[in-house]
């Protein structure tokens, strides 16, 4: 069917096998999430609410907690940097690499590094940057984009991956056995870990109390990325700070359960600084880069709750529109409901380019129901729609019927009742003949029920007369 909305067109044209993989994986993760939470807690919903309060409280007091996290990290021996945008963060990373004479970087999974497009930047400056998370590694080999926050290659099947490996010369022949693929990636990456001079990670949470950074992975690649290197860089959004180690525990209990239905990821690491004098090994230099990139602006806006997000992807997995369209439909690093709220904001001046994303929702509220930090996602999507309408952004309103005439009709009872009578004509006209795009979009694969305008009002008057009689 014809459509004016790019996400709807993307869903329409999505290859069947991609939709199938996205659907199967989303559904499986949703079911596992529910089982895992219910097995562990009698009232999972109240923990979700508590986690939301912890994050919201931190955001309301971010300068204080961020300040204390910096103080602790410095006390622990780390060097702390602030980057106002992606450009500054990229330059800081390059500077650190040049400072230690490095040209090779190995990176564990970090959505923030995707956000600032670190890999192409470093390559442009003659440095190698290798992804060590298997999914991200495959995305990198393919020159592709991750299509999910947690499972970046949910849109690919093993045959496609085998072809990618063959093209890249990883392994001697085409082989689509998942174990063989993994083994080949492993031996390739082991060499890269050893060759690398700098290891870069993200950070899932930072404790303001201790400066401790929590890192979660299922492949142990974060640990590998930093243990053989002299320099560790942690690139972290400013909103990742939490008040205390204890708060980190609440959030860690929810993160893996919400993301993949695991009680805990296979590896959970806590790092609070470089190698101490008495420790036998570990990075000698540790740099923490706190990235703003529009976050301060979001914090001061009516969208600030979105900064509670802990990137579990639960809202993607449950979202019926994401299930139909896949992550690439959202044209940005963060897809799904969280992406629909966040991406237009991270775009800064390019807000209008992404103003259609908040329309990709039936506002069903399933995203809010599964969110481990209780972000009112439907409300934020609605705020975006209102903002786009007020700013007259055409991309957002494309395909949505205008409501101005309707509001006049609905606030004038006489006109409303006249239209109830006039609407009778609809029964005699084929919907396909009415030259209103909205009606046509409805009627292509749906019928409208017979028009019965005013019938109830009539019935009620008689009913009342009969009762009084």
């Amino acid at each position: 069917m014809k459509t004016k909305q790019p996400i709807d067109a993307f869903a329409r044209d999505l290859p069947r096998e991609v939709r199938e993989s996205v659907y199967v994986s989303s559904k499986a993760k949703y079911d596992k999430r529910l089982d895992s939470l219910n097995q562990s807690y009698t009232a999972p919903d109240s923990i979700r609410k508590l986690a939301g309060q912890i994050k919201q409280h931190t955001l309301e007091n971010l300068p204080t907690y961020l300040g204390s996290a910096v103080e602790q990290l410095e006390k622990n021996g780390a060097k702390v940097h602030f980057a106002k945008d992606g450009q500054e963060a990229n330059e800081t990373i390059l500077e650190i690499m040049r400072g230690v004479g490095a040209t090779k970087l190995i990176k564990s999974k970090s959505m923030v590094s995707e956000e600032i497009h670190l890999n192409p930047f470093l390559e442009k400056h003659g440095c190698e940057s290798i992804e060590s998370d298997l999914g991200e590694f495959i995305v990198q080999l393919d020159n592709d984009m991750p299509s999910h926050i947690v499972t970046p290659i949910v849109h690919k099947n093993r045959k496609q991956i085998a072809t990618t490996f063959q093209k890249a010369g990883i392994g001697e022949d085409y082989n689509d056995d998942p174990q063989t693929i993994t083994r080949r990636a492993r031996s390739f990456l082991r060499q890269k870990y050893i060759e690398a001079e700098v290891g870069l990670t993200g950070g899932n949470f930072v404790s303001a109390e201790s400066g401790r950074i929590a890192l979660v992975t299922n492949e142990g690649n974060a640990r590998f990325s930093i243990s053989a290197n002299k320099t560790h860089i942690a690139l972290i959004g400013i909103e990742k700070v939490v008040p205390s180690d204890k708060d980190m525990a609440v959030l860690l209990n929810l993160l893996a359960r919400s993301a993949t239905g695991q009680q805990l990821t296979v590896y959970t690491q806590f790092i609070n600084g470089p190698k101490a004098a008495k420790q036998p090994d570990g990075p000698e230099n540790m740099h923490v880069i706190f990235l703003d990139n529009e976050r301060s602006n979001i914090l001061g806006s009516e969208f600030k709750e979105i900064l509670r997000c802990i990137r579990c992807g639960a809202c993607l997995n449950v979202c019926p529109i994401y299930r139909q369209s896949s992550g690439h439909a959202y044209r940005a690093v963060y897809p799904g409901p969280v992406g629909a709220v966040l991406s237009p904001l991270l775009a800064g001046k390019k807000y209008p380019d992404y103003a259609d994303l908040p329309k990709a929702s039936s506002l069903c509220g399933a995203c809010n129901e599964v969110c481990p930090v209780d972000i009112p996602l439907p409300e934020l999507l609605l705020r975006h729609r209102n903002k786009a309408k007020q700013e007259g952004i055409k991309k957002a309103s494309a395909g949505t019927p205008s409501m101005a005439g309707w509001s006049v009709l609905c606030s004038s009872p006489a006109m409303w009742k006249t239209s109830l009578r006039a609407g009778k004509a609809m029964d005699y006209i084929s919907l396909n003949l009415i030259p209103v795009p909205a009606v046509q979009a409805w009627a292509k694969e749906r019928t409208l029920p017979p028009f019965r305008g005013g019938k109830f009002r009539q019935w009620f008057k008689e009913h009342k007369r009969n009762k009084e009689a």
């Binding site: 459509t3 069903c364 509220g365 309707w406 009872p413 109830l420 409208l448 029920p449 009620f460």
Partner: protein, 253 residues
């Protein structure tokens, strides 16, 4: 909103919803009969039109406020206003707050929203109805209707239906998933909306129920419109209609 803050009583007003005013008169009629059965005196203010949700969800909050102000003027906030629709009730309970957060008349709007109830929620939590009399012999799959999230509507409907003699409520997969209607979403995103609807119909009818039930005619209009076009019409009923039919069957016995 705590129960004590909400306006209750048996002198009630019906907000029939624009969909029942235009297409589903039988649902509004059933609502009146159900309310009268539990001892309510029902009024239907003539000037009513719509709750304002279509414009609100489309992002046109100026138009929304215009309609909401008309609606608030039309109903008497001292009496409960009953809606046979989870999504319109959600709009009044949550959407009004959002659309009026920066407006001077927020207080008046909130006074009205506190008096508004979805039908099943009102029966169970407003009037304390625990069981529904009569009989209705049918296997029913009850669509959750997303906009009832965060309210007592769905649980109340389940409570009432499962108390009726002869009713068998069946479970179905992906009950948390939306039907794909979403107001203007259904025309702005026609492909996604219809695909979602087809999937929902598959789930709702997997166990071959006699009836597909709902607390919202918007979902039903979309789902039965798709089913009809596919040549396999949906046997659908609003919960109010089921309650009314149960009463009538009970009288026959």
């Amino acid at each position: 909103m705590s129960q004590t803050e909400r306006t209750t009583g048996t002198q009630v007003q019906l907000m029939m919803t624009c969909l029942c005013d235009t297409f589903f008169d039988s649902v509004a009629q059933a609502t009146v009969e159900v309310l009268e059965h539990v001892g309510c005196n029902v009024e239907v203010p003539e000037a009513q039109t719509c709750c304002g949700q279509p414009a609100f969800n489309s992002g046109d909050w100026d138009s929304t406020r215009k309609v909401v102000r008309h609606t608030c003027k039309t109903f008497d906030a001292r009496k409960p206003t009953i809606l046979p629709s989870g999504s319109c009730a959600h709009m009044v309970a949550h959407g009004y707050d959002l659309a009026f957060e920066k407006e001077d008349d927020l207080g008046e709007v909130q006074t009205f929203s506190k008096s508004v109830w979805e039908l099943c929620d009102f029966l169970v939590n407003g009037l304390g109805v625990e069981r529904w009399p009569g009989r209705f012999d049918a296997k029913i799959s009850l669509h959750r209707s997303c906009h009832t999230r965060g309210t007592q509507t769905y649980q109340s409907a389940v409570k009432l239906l499962s108390s009726i003699e002869g009713v068998e409520l069946v479970e179905f997969d992906e009950s948390e998933q939306c039907c794909g209607f979403g107001g203007t979403f259904s025309v702005a995103y026609p492909n996604t909306s219809v695909s979602m609807g087809k999937l929902k119909i598959e789930m709702l009818t997997a166990s071959k129920p006699d009836i597909v039930g709902a607390v919202d005619m918007a979902c039903m209009m979309h789902l039965s419109g798709i089913a009809q076009k596919q040549g396999r019409p949906l046997n659908k009923l609003h919960v109010a209609e089921i309650l009314m039919k149960a009463l009538r069957n009970g009288q026959k016995q």
